[in-house]
């Protein structure tokens, strides 16, 4: 990816799906999610951590993820988040929604229309 880093606003609607995907791969604790997003996007996505922390809590209230206290190999106890069955179904739905949106956006933004003459 080139150019300016994307702001949170653009990705905000999809942050939920991003968090859920990361948690579905393996159980993670709060800051691990922040770190993982940073690592994978290599700085192209400037995330507001406040938004992410609030989102994680909202997802837990919605019962698509649950949390438990676990140990980290070195260090203090951590609160790990785990995706629930409901969460898996929700994520699947979100994925389908995203694919559809991607197609629709491509239809407009990527097509070489007559307007470009």
């Amino acid at each position: 990816m080139n150019g300016l880093p994307l702001s949170s606003d653009v990705l905000r609607g999809h942050l939920e799906s991003i968090i859920l995907t990361l948690i579905s791969e393996k159980d993670r604790y709060g800051y691990e999610i922040v770190n993982e997003i940073k690592k994978r996007t290599a700085g192209d996505f400037v995330m507001k951590e406040a938004t992410l922390y609030a989102m994680v809590q909202r997802l837990e209230k919605k019962e698509v993820i649950t949390s438990y206290i676990g140990d980290k190999s070195h260090g203090k106890k951590r609160r790990y988040y785990k995706i629930t069955l409901l969460g898996k179904a929700y994520l699947k739905e979100k994925k389908a929604e995203w694919l559809e949106l991607k197609d629709i956006m491509a239809l407009f933004l990527e097509a070489n229309h007559e307007t470009n003459r």
């Binding site: 800051y31 951590e49 406040a50 938004t51 609030a54 809590q57 609160r79």
Partner: protein
Amino acid sequence: MKRIDKFVRRLYKHQPEDHESMEALKQMLYEKVDDLMREEDLSEEDAINRTIEEFGDEKDYELPALEKEKRRHRRAKTLRHYKNDLLFSALATLLIASIVFIANYTLLEQFFPWVALIITLGVLFWPLSILYKFLNKKGDHS
């Protein structure tokens, strides 16, 4: 870590009773401080500074309950303002109407009730429009 506690308490000043959510946030911030100290070799103070700095603007921390509480606060404030406006405009209207009537009686030889009445009615629209806005806002529960 006291600074983290203080920071979180300030964030929750609108709903200090939501302990569960407050504890969850504290836990996430403690974890970050711990990770930063361990992985980036920061002192505890530096790690706390960076954690608070990178948390970002507190308005981005939008818990549904927190938002609702803030909206309720704002609504109550607006209603209070409207009440004051209403009182002020009603008193001012009364004052203006009485001045018009008295002036009409005392200064002019002939009494023009129509002129006084029309002016009074005109001024009356001021408190009426505020009353309208006030009732509208009050009925709007969304």
